[in-house]
């Protein structure tokens, strides 16, 4: 188990470096000149050269990449002379826009995105799994049909559509909820939840629909297994059979899905956060896109990749705990 974990951790670092390399190559090799963008319209040649040198853009690409990667582990000093900046560990560079350290920007915004993602995940797991299991246990009844028709429909709605409908229905017309405004959990948990409820719903609906479909088919398959029949035949109450024997095996395949979705949730957050005006990483990313702030784009991409590989690793390790057949 420990050896396996260590081996996987090494692989994770390898994958992240590869992701960084590809991202770096694309953004820095493509014909765009961040120095000129930072310098503005009326820009003298010397000033442009100074900015280039400060950004490290006068170095060869491999050198820039090496500086970038080693900066993550050891911190680095950028520029020279009057423009010297020390970027502390873990250094992801400085934003072109407001000269803040990218790492600090990310850390600053992380609580908002994490609140959004985790709340939505809890909501969609509860909604999706219960709908899926109920539909599976009442297979081919009216309840099953209604739930599945609803799930197919909900799975076809894009996040921004759901968001707009919720904003229109619950805020404008019914006036039930306030327009979301992020409140830190530490400050006021009740307000934190009531403000995030709408974004949670908007983000969770699509996933809940997908999980309902998946968990239904997985549960139906499990309930047809011989060991379930054995459990029933030896006289266990139906409840015990479903909960103890059925759910555990039926829900395990969804773990993989959950890991991938949770890791990829940052992308969904880009749309949700900008629609609901939440100051999270998604909106930071969107802002960086419009201004061409490459260090921030690179930083968010790396962070998102980290989430994905770490979530996948966590799921693989969890499998060993949940599924007794898996030996690492």
């Amino acid at each position: 188990m420990i050896r396996y974990t260590l081996r996987r951790l090494v692989a994770v670092v390898g994958v992240l470096i590869a992701v960084a390399a590809v991202t770096f190559t694309i953004f820095y090799v493509l014909p765009s000149d961040p120095a000129a963008a930072a310098c503005g319209k009326s820009c003298s040649t010397e000033r442009l050269e100074a900015i280039r040198a400060h950004m490290g853009l006068d170095e060869p690409v491999w050198r820039q990449f090496w500086d970038f990667v080693s900066g993550i582990f050891t911190g680095r000093t950028m520029g020279s002379g009057r423009y010297t900046l020390h970027c502390h560990f873990p250094c992801l560079g400085y934003s072109y826009e407001n000269s803040e350290a990218v790492w600090d920007l990310l850390v600053d915004r992380l609580p908002v995105s994490a609140s959004l993602a985790l709340g939505a995940a809890v909501l969609w797991l509860v909604l999706g799994l219960s709908a899926g299991v109920v539909a599976a246990l009442r297979k081919d009844t009216l309840v099953d049909r209604a739930l599945m028709v609803g799930a197919v429909g909900a799975a076809s709605l894009p996040v921004y559509f759901t968001s707009m409908m919720l904003i229109y229905g619950l805020i404008r017309v019914a006036g039930l909820l306030p327009y979301p405004r992020y409140v830190s959990f530490a400050d006021d948990p009740a307000h934190w939840a009531s403000n995030l409820l709408l974004p949670w719903l908007a983000l969770a609906l699509l996933y809940a629909a997908m999980y309902a479909r998946q968990s239904r088919s997985s549960m139906i398959e499990t309930m047809a297994e011989p060991y379930i029949r054995t459990a029933r035949a030896k006289g266990l109450p139906r409840r015990t059979v479903v909960v103890k024997h059925g759910l555990r095996a039926g829900m395990t395949p969804l773990l993989t899905l959950f890991g991938m979705d949770l890791g990829g949730l940052l992308a969904g957050a880009v749309i949700t956060e900008s629609l609901f005006g939440l100051p999270g990483i998604g909106r930071l990313f969107y802002g960086a896109l419009t201004t061409g702030d490459q260090p921030v784009i690179l930083g968010v991409t790396l962070l998102a990749a980290t989430f994905i590989v770490v979530a996948n690793l966590a799921v693989d390790l969890l499998y060993a705990v949940v599924d007794p057949r898996v030996r690492l």
Binding site: F27, S32, P158, S217
Partner: protein, 317 residues
């Protein structure tokens, strides 16, 4: 969607296993029994015709997608469309865009062209590369498999949507439609490749494949004649099920403003523009959203049915 009553078995109907000849007929009969297949095929057909005949249809409606019609909007009300339901009239069949007065029917139809062209081409790229990689990895095994599997893992570790957004926003002077197709296609292939690899592994040592090998068939012939038909079923089902995701991805990119550039319309972009008018002109929001919803729904229903028929054991596990 009520399921049709099961047809009474005609006395001459043979048992399924030996049923009349070719497997294609069997599949078609199974599909025809499902009501959802008919509905989804009609919707998909409708949108495909719409996309293919876009210039013709908009000419029929009398408006080009980029023509402004100031007479259809009210300049004193911030350019809200005149008339009920977002300006639906004999002149503008689905109403007009606020402020500019561009014809929504023409824009939706041309949007279908862009959205479906990108989604379907990206799907084709994904399926062809994924199948090729999956068959190669499964059949040849060894180093080929190790290399391709690593590549799949790596591609799947990319935050694909974030990466797509970033790539689309950095690239400036290129053909947007081409770039978008390539970028969307780039990240989808590992899914198909995994399905195909698994299926190939299970087929590779079947008796009939061994027989072909003993009979002197070369690897190319075995792959195309014996293995490829065996993986076709799951691949077709999987393909139909990833199309909705492709359409949604295209829409999301266009929605975020990194997709096709205006004035070329696409559904996602139209929805993004309509968001700021949702209060004054809800129809502007509803029309492209409904198109997107219906297309995604139809492909999902069709994919479900195809999977049930072609790949009942679910080779994706």
């Amino acid at each position: 969607m009520s399921s049709p009553a099961p047809e009474p078995l005609a006395p001459e109907a043979a048992p399924l296993s030996t049923a009349s000849g070719r497997p294609g007929q069997l599949v078609r009969r199974e599909l025809r029994r499902r009501g959802s297949v008919k509905i989804s095929l009609v919707i998909i057909g409708l949108f495909l015709v719409m996309a293919a005949a876009a210039p013709l249809l908009s000419a029929l409606g009398g408006w080009s997608p980029d023509a402004f019609d100031k007479s259809a909007v009210d300049p004193y009300l911030g350019g809200t469309p005149l008339g009920p339901l977002g300006g639906i009239s004999a002149d503008h069949w689905l109403g007009v865009e606020p402020v500019t007065g561009r014809d929504l029917f023409a824009r939706v139809v041309h949007g279908a062209q862009v959205s479906l062209l990108i989604a379907l081409t990206a799907t084709a790229i994904v399926v062809v590369t994924g199948t090729a990689a999956g068959i190669a990895a499964g059949y040849f095994g060894g180093r080929t498999d190790a290399l391709l599997s690593r590549l799949m893992d790596l591609t799947m570790s990319f935050p694909s949507l974030i990466f797509m957004i970033a790539m689309m926003s950095v690239a400036k002077d290129v053909n947007r439609i081409l770039l978008m197709t390539a970028v969307i296609g780039l990240f989808g292939w590992p899914g198909v490749a995994r399905v195909v690899r698994g299926q190939t592994l299970s087929l590779k040592h079947r008796e009939y494949v061994d027989a072909a090998r003993v009979g002197g068939s070369g690897p190319w012939r075995i792959l195309t004649r014996d293995v490829l038909p065996g993986v076709a079923g799951p691949v077709i089902a999987y393909t139909t099920l990833i199309i909705p995701g492709m359409i949604a991805t295209e829409a999301a990119l266009s929605y975020l403003g990194v997709g096709v550039r205006p004035p070329t319309p696409s559904w996602g972009q139209m929805i993004a523009e309509s968001v700021s008018f949702y209060d004054t002109d809800p129809m502007y929001f509803v029309i492209p959203s409904a198109c997107l919803f219906l297309t995604v729904l139809a492909f999902t229903l069709l994919g479900d049915a195809l999977r049930d028929v072609l790949d009942p054991r679910g080779s994706r596990a």
